[in-house]
């Protein structure tokens, strides 16, 4: 077993175990913190796949931005002084059966499909290539995403202060 395999199994285990705790643990604050470990694990998987820039963006935006937003959402929508912060789950058994079936079918179909695999050498570093593609080939999408983020910012502000 090479060091590559060991690192992959480490990050995959971190990701899946903490994702399991995110969806099953009862205290929502603990769920948010386990989400942090899930995002770290996913960033590690990106690094293994040779996507260094995307991994950094994942850390900055997800861990630095979205997770903080979610924690704010938890804090603002729960009465911390009451013990309201533990929230229940509903319909565990039918959901487990349905999602288990779905996961089995999805995993089996994805893993058993004979994908045409061409294992290319990792393009490191990817930052220059990504930057060039963002301003040439995907320039329109890039600008549209800028407008979308502006609209989301204005919309979120005007929704929240109403």
């Amino acid at each position: 077993m090479s060091i590559y395999d060991i690192i992959f199994y480490l990050f995959a285990t971190i990701t899946l175990v903490s994702a399991f705790f995110v969806v099953t643990i009862r205290n929502i604050v603990y769920s948010a913190f386990f989400l942090l470990f899930t995002f770290f694990g996913v960033a590690g998987i990106y690094v293994i796949l040779g996507a260094d820039f995307v991994a950094m963006v994942q850390l900055i935006i997800y861990v630095g931005g979205i997770l903080i937003l979610i924690l704010f959402g938890v804090m603002l929508t729960n009465k911390i002084t009451n013990v309201q912060i533990k929230i229940g789950t509903s319909q565990i058994i039918p959901a487990s059966i349905g999602v288990g079936l779905f996961a089995g079918i999805l995993t089996a179909s994805l893993v058993n499909t004979p994908w045409r695999k061409i294992d290319t050498a990792p393009l490191l570093p990817t930052t220059q290539g990504l930057g060039l593609m963002l301003i040439s080939e995907y320039g329109v999408v890039f600008e549209l995403l800028g407008i979308l983020l502006l609209i989301a910012l204005i919309g979120a502000a005007s929704l929240a202060r109403k």
Binding site: A12, V22, V23, Y46, A51, T77, V99, A103, T107, A156
Partner: protein
């Protein structure tokens, strides 16, 4: 010993996606539903980047992953604003109790 290949990454992403669905359908708190959606978006991102590496697509899969991350950020901001409004109106974020439209 099997060498790590495309199917290992696809396995991780499909399990992560299913856990996200499980979180969405079982948790009652609206913020938890949002966390489930984030898990599903991460799973799709793993798929994009795995296929970019093993499918000889160059950097296009990574570009798509960046776009998904941007959309996730916008979605999180809007969704949390909506959740705050729901909390102000109903004093709860339990998605089972917010059923005014049913009447």
């Amino acid at each position: 010993m099997i060498h790590i290949g495309l199917s290992h990454f696809l396995f991780v992403s499909s399990i992560l996606f299913s856990l996200g669905i499980f979180g969405i359908v079982t948790r009652r708190n609206a913020v938890m539903v949002l966390m489930g959606i984030e898990l599903m978006l991460n799973a799709s991102n793993i798929n994009f980047i795995a296929f970019a590496k093993y499918g000889n697509f160059g950097l296009q899969g990574q570009i798509m992953a960046l776009f998904v991350i941007v959309l996730a950020a916008a979605e999180a901001a809007i969704a949390l604003a909506i959740v705050l409004n729901i909390y102000k109106t109903f004093s709860t974020v339990n998605v089972d109790e917010i059923d005014t439209l049913k009447d």
